[in-house]
């Protein structure tokens, strides 16, 4: 097994600098920008989920950091081996079970690019093992998983960044910063804004195919491990390698595939990183039990009146409940406009690499990523249930709808639990 020397010193740096203790004396040279970086000062890294987005997610993890790939993990061993060969000339050890990978003592940073039904369990395990994480979007498969991820990263003081970065650009754009200030100021009462996302959620592209007969599991694939926390189902090839997006067991269609890219920056802009919608109204036909399908639109209203509307543009009628309009300074009195102008700009958002070095929260931190994922989960649940839902964003439960609450925290298959 490949071992990076002085791993413990690295880990000491990672944790001690979080508390500001004697950082200067233990700071590795690469943090100080030295041109030559001895291997002992590299972060040990791994990728879990080596197909599809995996290599790209791993590159995101490494940005701005000196790293050495020590492990590649995938339920399909061929994929893990290919990634190890490509990024470490085969030196990085290959794993089929992430539990064995996380036992390594030279591992500091983990990129997770499995299908989303594994994101929460693996992220939490990484935090429990003392590692920082860059996790592909969508963050989770259901709401309670997200809260568990938030709690775990807080408990262990680890860094988490979701794999979407639109909010970083927004936080540097004057127009979006102004909207952010208006919305975060609390000065806008009874907000009338309606923000529309029309199309782009790949409804048909990531709809699943129902009724495919079971197939023989390929030799290199650990199918039981693939199913993991989701209900066990017979193997068929569309449940893996990208087309998994069309199955409720693993993701949530194009809504979840593309939604976090769109709503993560929107949520930052409109200052909703710490809350969720209170009313969700859908227009959708009855859903199939296994595969994602068609829907027309979903309206998500926050407690302050602000609304996100998503319109598929691929099926059914257009949204016509309210005209679309944005927030602006004109929504405020002259006196309040002056208050906005005197507000300081928000703190710059830290990239994953900066957050790891500074031991501060990354821009796409767990709470923000969870709340953005909740927008997608709540929209999908309204689509699946076919009725208006009322949601308590603090307790994270639906109000007066016991059957709907069953979908917020569906039981997991043993031995997986959050």
């Amino acid at each position: 097994m490949k071992k990076i020397p002085c791993a413990t010193t690295r880990r000491s740096f990672l944790t001690k600098s979080a508390t500001g203790a004697t950082a200067a004396t233990i700071l590795p040279r690469h943090v100080l920008g030295a041109p030559h970086v001895p291997p002992s000062e590299k972060f040990g890294t791994a990728l879990i989920g080596c197909g599809g987005r995996g290599p790209g997610t791993y590159s995101g993890l490494c940005k701005g950091l000196e790293v050495e790939l020590v492990g590649a993990c995938d339920v399909d061993l061929n994929r893990a081996q290919r990634f190890s060969n490509a990024r470490s000339k085969g030196k990085a050890e290959v794993y089929q079970d992430f539990r064995k990978l996380l036992e390594r003592k030279d591992l500091d940073l983990v990129a997770i690019a499995t299908p989303p039904h594994w994101h929460a369990s693996i992220s939490i395990a990484c935090a429990e093992a003392g590692m920082d994480v860059l996790c592909e979007k969508p963050m989770t498969r259901f709401v309670a998983e997200g809260r568990a991820v938030v709690n775990a990263f807080k408990r262990y003081g680890r860094i988490f960044q979701i794999g979407t970065f639109g909010r970083f650009g927004r936080s540097r754009d004057k127009g979006y910063v102004l909207k952010h200030k208006i919305m975060s100021s609390g000065l806008l009462k009874d907000c009338q804004a309606v923000r529309m996302k029309k199309g782009g959620l790949k409804v048909k592209q990531w709809s699943g195919t129902p009724g495919i007969p079971p197939q023989t599991v390929p030799d290199q694939l650990d199918w039981d491990m693939y199913c993991g926390p989701s209900p066990w189902k017979p193997y068929e090839s569309r449940r893996v390698t990208g087309t998994h997006r069309g199955y409720w067991d693993y993701e949530g269609g194009g809504m979840c595939d593309m939604g976090q890219h769109h709503y993560d920056p929107e949520q930052w802009t409109y200052a909703k990183d710490h809350t969720s919608p209170v009313e969700i109204t859908p227009y959708a036909p009855p859903s199939h039990p296994e595969v994602t399908g068609m829907w027309a639109w979903v309206e998500l209203k926050y407690a302050d009146g602000f609304k996100f509307v998503m319109e598929s543009g691929e099926w059914g009628p257009a949204y016509d409940r309210q005209p679309v309009r944005d927030v602006s300074m004109d929504d405020l009195s002259k006196e309040d406009q002056e208050k906005i102008k005197s507000m300081p700009d928000p703190e710059p958002l830290l990239s994953f690499g900066e957050a790891v070095k500074q031991r501060k929260q990354a821009g796409g931190h767990p709470e923000a990523a969870h709340r953005a994922a909740c927008i997608l989960h709540l929209a999908n649940l309204a689509i699946r249930l076919g009725r208006k839902l009322n949601y308590d964003p603090d307790k994270e439960v639906f109000l007066n709808d016991e059957e709907a609450n069953r979908f917020l925290n569906p039981p997991m298959s043993a031995p997986w639990r959050v």
Binding site: R11, G130, P286, G293, W315, S413, A414, P415
Partner: protein, 276 residues
């Protein structure tokens, strides 16, 4: 209309997906299934086959849609009637894969009153029926815990692990001894399920057991068992049992001496500072 005619309102895959779906026709079909009562429901369930043994996309879609649409605020009577009839079909001679599908629909709509019809599957190791039954019962809420308690002594292997986990999901105080026994089992995942159960019931008197076991475990077992100690301390702290929480954090602080575990010492330090 019989069920076969009713389900024609639901689409067949076209270009692999269910793109041409008529919302109004499907909603009407759901109403017809409900209006048809037990007879129509049984006809519908009879149309569902083992995967690979025929085409039943419309039948599965129709049954699931009905199970979803019959739930929600103010529909208790209709939901109960539907769920009772659906649960009764579990006792028919049907393939396990079809029973599994029925169990998953009961997870969506049935109340605890149907628990007795689902519980016998908790110990059935075939085709993951125990898993589907456990998840249906867990979804129905804590009043189904008695089924897990009764099934536990009769179960072995994967069903037994699933049952221990189910008792933990329900935070069953009365299963303390089950959790304690599991926490000392030979199999790692059973041990972890037992420790997790003790953490879930916030058992202060078992803190020493959790700490001792977590110190003994290696690798993955140590990571998870330590995490359960940390969560137990958090639960106790939230319940105002600060002295017991403090003792756990102090023990973690004292025993996690390796450099690779210094993040645990720091987490414990942070919590100890908060508890002052």
């Amino acid at each position: 209309m019989n069920a076969k005619e009713i389900i024609q309102a639901f689409p067949q895959p076209e270009g692999k997906i269910l793109r041409n779906i008529d919302k109004d026709a499907c909603e009407r079909a759901v109403e017809q299934i409900l209006a048809g009562g037990k007879k129509t429901l049984r006809e519908l369930v009879d149309l569902i086959v083992e995967p690979g043994r025929g085409v039943d996309v419309q039948a599965r879609h129709a049954l699931h849609s009905t199970a979803i649409r019959v739930g929600g605020p103010g529909k208790t009577k209709a939901r109960k009637a539907f769920s009772t009839s659906l649960a009764e079909t579990l006792s028919d001679d049907r393939p396990n894969a079809v029973k599994g599908f029925i169990l998953r629909q009961l997870q969506v709509c049935a109340g605890p009153e149907e628990g007795g019809k689902i519980a016998p599957f908790l110990t059935n190791p075939e085709d993951h029926l125990y898993e589907y039954a456990a998840q249906a019962l867990e979804a129905m809420g804590p009043s189904t815990v008695s089924h897990f308690r009764k099934a536990y002594p009769k179960a072995s292997g994967a069903p037994r692990l699933t049952i221990i986990q189910g008792l933990g999901v329900h935070r069953d105080d009365d299963s303390r001894e089950v959790f304690r026994k599991a926490a000392k089992a030979k199999d790692l995942e059973t041990r972890l399920a037992g420790l997790w159960g003790l953490m879930r019931i916030a058992s202060a008197e078992d803190a020493d057991l959790l700490l001792a076991q977590s110190a003994k475990e290696k690798g993955w077992g140590r990571i998870k068992a330590t995490a359960y100690c940390m969560e137990l301390a958090e639960s106790l702290s939230n319940k105002g049992r600060k002295k017991e929480a403090r003792a756990i954090y102090e023990e973690i602080r004292k025993t996690r001496k390796a450099d690779q575990e210094d993040y645990l010492r720091e987490s414990a330090d942070r919590e100890l500072a908060r508890l002052k």
